[in-house]
Symmetry: C2
Subunit: 69 residues, 2 copies
């Protein structure tokens, strides 16, 4: 198992959290996504380490931006 | 045709706008819903005047609050 953390910019409500969670959950091997709306901190559990570009692309797909990885 | 305006509190993003629009569009006779996210101003076009309690209930269902009607 691998755990990675990111900070995502632009999430303002529970719908934003859902959108980011949904896109990240679609990534292969991802088993859990936790989002803290107040801080923008996103924690992803996956079977193997994730490619950062895949995470950035998934967050972008949801309409938000990874600011630190 | 009837046009009514409300101010809705708590909308922070496009998803919130969509949720409010969707619930208000479900009200009988509603033909158009316009939401200005920045001001919270919601304009509803309907065949006949709407009962304020129905509008308040629809906005509540979406997870937000009508502050002025």
């Amino acid at each position: 198992m691998s755990t990675s953390e990111y900070t995502v910019k632009g999430m303002t409500c529970g719908h934003c959290v859902s959108a980011v969670t949904e896109e990240l959950t679609k990534l292969p091997g991802v088993s859990d996504v936790q989002v803290d709306l107040a801080s923008g901190r996103v924690t992803v559990q996956s079977e193997a380490p994730l490619a950062e570009q895949d995470v950035v692309a998934a967050v972008d797909e949801a309409g938000y931006e990874v600011v630190t990885a």
